[in-house]
């Protein structure tokens, strides 16, 4: 695969010697994730890393740099572009792939996008089904990937709390929660038949707080949308809706400038912002401590329907 020049210092020169830090929870989580990344890269023929541009992907990418240092990341990144991602995300994505020196693949469900698929015209479930799940399954099949890393964490949602680190998918990409392989110690079963695949979650045991603390400690770049700024928003009750897409506006609705930020990055029509003054990573951590609602509460998709994340996952969603 074509890999651009990467900035990996210390190939032949002796780099600085650091004293080992005490093994904090972040070091332990990091060591576990690196082990998983190396296992997958060594045991599968065609692994790929799903890169969603969000904070979890940023952490996963840094861990991949660490896992294979001083070599390059030995698999490509894949972004499933719904066409509704924030412009700043796309700019950040391209810059990030360049600076890390990884191959970036972008896949869009062009027929569905051309047909005008959006979450207002359809419901969010069918929109996600076409632009995310279908696009993902098509991309995995097109490139013949047999393992795909995702940045999902078990603390995000109840259905994810039961997900294995190696999540087996049948030849249709589907998850069967009743028929998961037992997973013991750090011994992962990578055996699959042709057509089957494994989704791998190296950040399974990280919490939202761990992710932000790691970003803080490691100085990992993240999209500016996470930080509070005056941004034009439609205000509906408690919800703040970004104005990226015209069809989001209701008749006569006017955007207002609100000091706000995004807590998790998704598609602009389905990701609400929150009022916030948090302008730095430390501010975000402080804000997190004071929060009384969970990270995905601003995602329309999860609470459309009782157990909706589980239904989506069974169908092949990440």
């Amino acid at each position: 695969m074509p890999i651009a020049e990467s900035e990996t210092p210390g190939l032949s020169s002796q780099s600085r010697v650091v004293t080992p830090r005490s093994l904090s929870h972040l070091r332990l989580l990091e060591a576990e994730s690196i082990h998983i990344l190396r296992e997958v890269a060594s045991e599968f023929e065609r692994p790929v890393m799903l890169y969603s541009i969000g904070k979890d992907s940023s952490v996963m990418l840094r861990l991949a740099q660490k896992a294979f240092f001083p070599g390059p990341i030995p698999f490509p990144l894949l972004h499933i572009d719904t066409g509704f991602k924030f412009r700043e995300m796309i700019t950040f994505r391209d810059e990030m792939a360049r600076s890390v020196g990884a191959e970036l693949l972008v896949w869009r469900n062009e027929p569905a996008i051309a047909a005008g698929t959006n979450p207002i015209a359809l419901d969010t479930r069918r929109c996600c089904g076409l632009l995310k799940t279908q696009a993902l399954l098509d991309a995995l099949r097109h490139y013949n990937f047999d393992a795909a890393f995702g940045g999902a964490r078990r603390d995000e949602e109840k259905a994810r709390a039961k997900e294995r680190i190696y999540s087996f998918r049948d030849s249709a990409g589907q998850w069967d929660p009743k028929n998961q392989r037992p997973e013991l110690w750090n011994l992962y079963n990578a055996r699959i038949h042709p057509g089957e695949s494994i989704r791998v979650f190296p950040l399974s045991n990280w919490t939202e707080m761990d992710v932000w603390q790691y970003i803080h400690e490691e100085d990992i770049p993240v999209v500016d949308l996470y930080f509070a700024k005056e941004r034009p928003m439609y205000i509906r009750g408690d919800a703040l809706l970004p104005i990226e897409q015209n069809f989001v506006a209701r008749l006569g609705e006017k955007p207002q400038l609100v000091k706000s930020r995004l807590r998790s990055l998704g598609c602009s029509p389905c990701t609400g912002a929150i009022r916030s003054d948090a302008a730095t990573v430390a501010d975000i951590i402080a804000e997190l401590l004071s929060f009384r609602s969970s990270e995905r509460a601003n995602r329309v998709i999860d609470h459309d329907q009782e157990g909706s994340m589980e239904i989506k996952k069974r169908e092949g969603y990440f």
Partner: protein, 574 residues
């Protein structure tokens, strides 16, 4: 909602404190009705680890009185569970206190799901075993304690729950404590792994002694369950154990660098240390410990690092780098305790794959020494292990591997067994004994010196010798060969249209006969541009659409099953 700032709170101080926090993993296990989910829900709720929207989403649901929260619903994830009202799989929960971060492996107590209990216990530093005070010590509690001990979970916290139902009666608590200590002693003598147990009287429903100490039990002066969890020593500190480093990957980005990437399984390593590579037995010294953050002057388990040695050795994935002072055992056979985890029972001499550290080796089980009844701790003679069965077996590996006893090393002593045909993880194994490969060799049978029989070949490879003729597109034939290779079939591919066979019409038959006698599957291949694939074996023939490769591959496997080349299982199952 805007964030509120708490007066006197400094985020910088908070971050410094967080940096020092370690991580404790514990498993919980309990019977369907003894309130495990309620206990975890209570732990999360009382440590402010659940958000308001999560509480709102379950308010008024479940089995509690109106206005009350059914804490169990906070942790019950899947739809099937909600329908059945029981937890069916391992779920992981996260919370932290001012002192420590925690990961809970929440494992079901239902008898069928012993395998999940073992899964949760495999990575746990501690186990919380629940006993329903109103019912006393039941089989489930014994089972949990047994598995915790078998998997060497160091600390067992026994939460005697539902104390509110028995009027917070001290005498009843003491009887349960006395009875269960006896059980734990018997268990420890069976597994050989000592159990450190602490007993706490609690009520998960009322919140007594879960997070806060209870006022209802003045006779109990000890710490709450959470206080105990906060003060346990974590068991990932193995720095005094011998150094073990399974090689996951060789990193050689250019000719100037050659490093061995892996996660330290136990012990400590420093530049200058003498190491030995197993199974080859060659030695070298550690020159550098390379990480993205810079070289280290010391690294310890469980860090993931890359080692550079002072001279070139032939090392690949699956090798074990060990301290030269205390090397591991290199063995081709071992005695292991197995926890069986699959619907299809253990079959002696069936072909399995052992995954151990970073390598996968074909293996078979030659004998079952005994099965353990966890209820009575009796050792019973048996010929198989069924789902959730536990027993001790003799395991033979096709290649020697470097290992330790599980009692000495929870990483290099552990293995999983994978079915080579279905690819399912069928058992967890803990090595209890292994003798050095060079000293005893592989077989102990009297026939160890005789000719290799057809039966021995079948037992090892899982199939008979035979001929499979394939006509169709070459890409699909490649996929079929690959799929056979993947499941461990020993095959030899013959291009039937090659000149030698055209010139000598009988040659093909001679070659395939010889190969069949040696137990190999001959793939006699005619490549064509056709859009169908024809496969023939033992006089049976199928023709399938070549544009549906997955179905085509699967049809060929079916054919091999139906002709008896793949040896049919005697047991029910796949």
């Amino acid at each position: 909602m805007a964030a509120t700032t708490v007066p006197g709170f400094s985020i910088q101080e908070f971050l410094v404190e967080e940096r020092e926090k370690d991580l404790l993993r514990f498993s919980t296990a309990g019977s369907v009705d003894d309130g495990k989910s309620t206990l975890i829900g209570r732990l999360l709720y009382d440590t402010q680890s659940v958000y308001e929207d999560q509480v709102r989403s379950i308010e008024g649901k479940g089995t509690t009185a109106p206005g009350q929260i059914d804490f169990a619903l906070l942790t019950d994830g899947l739809r099937a569970e909600r329908e059945q009202g029981i937890t069916i799989d391992v779920a992981y929960r996260y919370f932290s206190t001012a002192r420590r971060k925690f990961i809970i492996a929440d494992t079901p107590g239902h008898e069928q799901y012993t395998r999940n209990m073992a899964t949760g216990a495999s990575t746990a530093d501690a186990a919380v075993v629940l006993i329903d005070a109103s019912k006393g010590v039941l089989i489930q509690s014994r089972r949990h304690a047994y598995i915790a001990s078998l998997l060497r979970v160091q600390h067992v916290l026994v939460a005697v729950n539902k104390m509110d139902l028995i009027g917070y009666n001290e005498a009843a608590f003491r009887v349960i404590e006395r009875d269960f200590r006896l059980v734990l002693e018997q268990i420890a003598s069976d597994t050989g792994n000592p159990v450190e147990a602490t007993f706490v009287p609690v009520s998960a429903l009322a919140g007594d002694n879960i997070v806060h100490r209870s006022a209802s039990m003045p006779w109990y002066a000890g710490p709450s369950l959470l206080e105990l969890l906060e003060s346990l020593p974590s068991s990932h500190d193995t720095r005094t154990e011998p150094f073990r480093f399974p090689v996951q990957r060789v990193l050689r980005p250019d000719h100037t660098f050659r490093g061995f990437a892996g996660q330290i399984a136990s012990g400590t390593v420093r530049p200058g240390d003498s190491i030995t590579v197993l199974p080859s037995g060659r030695s070298a010294q550690v020159q550098r410990i390379v990480t993205w953050d810079g070289d280290l002057d010391e690294a310890r388990a469980p860090l993931s690092v890359t080692l550079v040695l002072n001279h070139e050795l032939d090392i690949s994935r699956g090798d074990l780098i060990v301290s030269s002072q205390s090397p591991a055992t290199v063995a081709k056979s071992a005695t292991a305790a197995l926890v069986w985890m699959d619907q299809r029972p253990l079959e002696l001499n069936r072909r399995y794959l052992v995954k151990h550290t970073s390598q996968t080796v074909p293996a078979f089980v030659s004998s079952l020494e005994h099965r353990t009844d966890i209820g009575t701790l009796r050792h019973e003679p048996a010929t198989t292990l069924e789902m959730n069965g536990i027993g001790v077996v003799k395991l033979h590996l096709l290649r020697p591997i470097a290992l330790d006893r599980y009692a000495e090393n929870r990483s290099t002593g552990a293995l999983i067994l994978i079915d080579a045909e279905s690819n399912r993880t069928v058992a967890a194994g803990m090595i209890t004994a292994a003798s050095s490969y060079a000293a005893t060799g592989d077989l102990t049978h009297a026939d160890a010196w005789g000719p290799v029989t057809a039966g021995e070949r079948e037992a090892r490879w899982g199939h008979r010798g035979g001929v499979l003729e394939l006509s169709g597109p070459v890409g699909l034939i490649d996929s079929i060969e690959r799929s056979l290779f993947t499941v461990g079939v020993v095959s030899a591919r013959i291009e039937a249209d090659a000149d030698a066979f055209v010139l000598h019409p009988r040659l093909l038959e001679i070659v395939t006969n010889l190969q069949t006698q040696s137990g190999l599957l001959s793939l006699v291949v005619h490549a064509s541009e056709s859009n169908t694939l024809t496969a023939r074996a033992e006089g049976r023939q199928i023709t399938v659409d070549a544009d549906e490769p997955i179905q085509a591959v699967s049809a060929v496997h079916q054919l091999l099953h139906s002709t008896g080349i793949f040896i049919p299982s005697e047991k029910a199952g796949l």
